[in-house]
Subunit: 376 residues, 2 copies
C-alpha cells in the first residue's frame, strides 16, 4: 500500500471505529449530481459520482458511475459498477450489503442529506435492515474529521495559498496595467493561470462584480463582459482548487474618489476584519467572533447580510461555521482552516468585502493568504 | 404588470390550480447551496438562494438570502428577507404561512428533495400543519410543466442554439488554425465568447478532454492545461446559458490516423445517433429510442456507460429522461427539448461522443444545434 492508499484507509478506519462503538454495521456516503458530498473523496480518493460503503469491519467498497476513472483515481478495497445495479442507489446499497455479508436486522447509516421520499424507499425495499438517517450520523462525524486538517492537508493548503497569493499579485498588476478591465478578464485570467500552476481549477465559480453589480452578495451572473476596476467598488471573490482543496479570498478594488458612504463602509470592514483576525485562537467559540463583528457594524449603523466566514477544505463552505447564530456550536481548534469575509453592501454605493484564509495553530492563528482592499 | 411579470404569475397560477384541486394550501420551493432547484427561477424570475411559497390562492412570496438582488430580478407578490427568520428555513416557511393566513391543520407541500432529518424538523416545529413530502408532489408537477417549453422559451432556445453553433464553428476553426491547442484554450474560449454574446456563461462546467483523458465519461478535472486536438480522440462537451436556459452539445475531434478500434467506435456512434434522431416524434416512449441505441452498440460489441440523452432547460439535466430503464415513463411531446448524446469509451482508444439538441414538434423533431465529429 502506498502512502496515499494508507491515508485513505486510515480515514476509513476512523469511520469504522465510530461505527463499531455504536453497533452500526456500515455507513453509506454518496456523491451525485444535485447532492455532492466530498466526504467520498476524503475517504476514497474518488472525486465524485459514486456511492461509498464503509463497514464496521473496515472495508471500503466504491460503486462508481465511471469504473474506468474510479480504477485510476480511487484507493479502496473494491470497485463495483453502478450499472451492475440498474443504476439504482437502493439496489446498489442492498447489493453491497449482501456481498459484504452484513446480516439482516443490522443498523446501516444513510447520508443525512438523503431526501425523505428516498429514505422511505430504502425502508421499504430494504425492510430487512434498520436504516438510520440523522443529522448527527456518520457523515456529520466525517465532517468533524474533515474540519481538522492533518499534516498532508496543511501542506496542500500552503501550496494552494502560495498560488492564490501569486494570483492576487498578478491580478492587481493586471488591473493597474489595464490588461484586466472586464469581469471576464479577471475571472478567465484566474481559470487559466490556476490550471497552469497545477490546480484542478477554481474551487467555486469566481464572482467578479464591477461597480455596477458589487451591491450583490453573490453577483448574478457570476461574471459578465461588463467593466471591472472602473470608478467605484469592484469585488473579486475566488479560490483555487488544488488536489480537491479550495482556498477562498476576496479582493475589493476601489477606483476614483470614494464617496463618504463608501469610505465609511471600507473603514468598518477593515476594522471588523482586524478585530476578528485578532480573536482567532483555539478555544474561542466562532459565535463570539461573528457576534463581535456584527456589533462593530451595528455601532456604525450597518448590517452584514451574511455570515462572517466558514471553514474551507474539500468544499468551499464546510465546518467550522463562523456565524452569529445561537445554535452555532463551533469552538476553534488547531488544524481548523477558516475564512473571515466581513462585507457591507449598498444598492447605490456598491459593496466592499475583504476575505482571507486562516490556519488555527496551538497558540493562535496564521493568515495563509494575503488578499486586500486595493486602491487604484 | 409587464409581460415578464405576467409569464411568472401565469406559471404560479398553474401551481395554484394544481394545489386547489388537491386541497393543498401552499407549496414550498427552495433553491439553496447544495440543493439547487431552478423551479424557483421558473416561477419567480429569481435565479437562486431563495425559498418560494405559492399558495392555493395564487400568491407568490419569496424569502431571499439577498433582498437587494431579489428586488431587481424577481417578479413576485412579496419579497421577504431570510435574515428576518434567523436564516432558518423552517422558521421562514412557518412565518410566511402565518402571514398568508394559512390555517393550522392545512396541507403544505414541501420539496421532494428535502432531507429526511429536515422533514422531521418541519413535522416537529410545525406540528400544526400537515406537511407533505412526495416524489410526485408539487415540484414534480412543476418539472412536468418545465419539460414542455412555451413559445418564449423556444424563442430563447433558438437564440441560444445560434450562439452555440457560432461557437462550434469558431472552435473548429481555432483547433484547425492552432489557436486552440489545449483543453484550457477550448474551455476559456467558450467562457469568454459566450458572455461576449450576451449569455450568462456556460450552462454547466465545460468538459474538455484531450486524447489522454477522453476515455472518461466526465473528465476529471473538467479541463486542464493539457493538449487538445492532438493525435487521437478529443471530446468537448459544453452548453451556453442564455436567460437561464442551457444548450448542451458535444464535439469529438479526430486527429492523426485513427486505429481500427477508434474507427469502429466512431462509425457506431454515428449510426446510433442517426437512428435515434430519426425516431424522435410525439408519442414515442424515450425508453424505446434509448433501447434501440443500446441494441446497436450491443450488436457492435460495445456498451454505452451512460444514458442516451436528457431534457434540457433551466437545468442541464431535466425531464424528459432519455434512458433505457424499465421505470422510464417518458413519452415525447411537442415542446420537449432533448439531447441525444451516444458515446463509447475505451481506456486505451479514448472516447467518442456526439451530442445535439432537438425540439420535438407536432410532426417530428428539429435539430436545434449542429455539433459534429470533426476529422482534423
Amino acid at each position: 500500500m502506498n502512502d496515499d492508499a494508507k491515508t485513505f484507509a486510515a480515514r476509513r478506519g476512523r469511520i469504522a471505529e465510530w461505527l463499531k462503538e455504536r453497533g452500526i454495521a456500515a455507513a453509506v456516503f454518496e456523491d451525485r449530481e444535485g447532492r455532492r458530498d466530498p466526504t467520498v473523496r476524503y475517504l476514497s480518493g474518488q472525486p465524485g459520482d459514486s456511492l461509498l460503503l464503509v463497514t464496521a469491519a473496515g472495508r471500503g467498497v466504491l460503486v462508481s458511475w465511471d469504473v474506468n476513472m474510479a480504477r485510476k483515481l480511487s484507493r479502496v478495497d473494491e470497485i463495483l459498477a453502478y450499472g451492475d445495479f440498474e443504476r439504482k442507489p437502493v439496489r446498489a446499497v442492498l447489493g453491497v450489503l449482501a456481498r459484504e455479508g452484513i446480516r439482516p436486522g443490522s443498523q446501516v447509516e444513510l447520508p443525512s442529506t438523503l431526501a425523505y421520499p428516498e429514505y422511505i424507499r430504502y425502508a421499504e425495499e430494504g425492510a430487512d435492515f434498520d436504516f438510520l438517517c440523522r443529522e448527527d450520523g456518520a457523515d456529520e462525524f466525517a465532517r468533524g474529521l474533515r474540519a481538522v486538517k492533518d499534516e498532508s492537508e496543511i501542506a496542500v493548503y500552503r501550496r494552494a495559498s502560495a498560488v492564490t497569493d501569486e494570483l492576487v499579485e498578478a491580478l492587481e498588476a493586471g488591473v493597474r496595467k489595464g490588461t484586466i478591465s472586464t469581469e471576464s478578464d479577471a475571472a478567465l485570467f484566474l481559470e487559466r493561470e490556476s490550471r497552469a500552476r497545477g490546480c484542478e481549477g477554481m474551487g467555486f465559480e469566481t464572482l467578479a462584480a464591477g461597480p455596477a453589480r458589487s451591491f450583490g452578495i453573490h453577483a448574478f451572473p457570476t461574471y459578465t463582459s461588463g467593466a471591472f476596476g472602473t470608478a467605484g467598488l469592484s469585488i473579486l471573490d475566488f479560490g483555487v482548487c488544488l488536489e480537491g482543496y479550495t482556498t477562498d479570498v476576496t479582493l475589493t478594488f476601489v477606483s476614483g474618489r470614494p464617496s463618504a458612504l463608501q469610505e465609511r463602509m471600507i473603514a468598518l470592514v477593515v476594522e471588523a476584519y482586524k478585530e476578528a483576525a485578532g480573536m482567532l485562537r483555539p478555544g474561542v467559540p466562532t459565535l463570539e467572533v461573528a457576534r463581535r463583528v456584527d456589533e462593530i457594524f451595528a455601532a456604525g449603523g450597518f448590517k452584514m447580510p451574511h455570515a462572517l466566514g466558514h471553514g474551507i477544505g474539500l468544499e468551499a463552505h464546510e465546518a467550522p461555521a463562523m456565524r452569529n447564530r445561537d445554535d452555532n456550536p463551533w469552538v476553534l481548534a488547531p488544524g481548523h482552516i477558516v475564512t473571515l469575509e466581513p462585507g457591507l453592501y449598498d444598492p447605490e454605493a456598491g459593496g466592499v468585502r475583504l476575505e482571507n484564509d486562516f490556519l488555527v495553530l496551538p497558540g493562535g492563528a496564521e493568515a495563509l493568504t494575503r488578499s486586500r482592499i486595493v486602491r487604484l
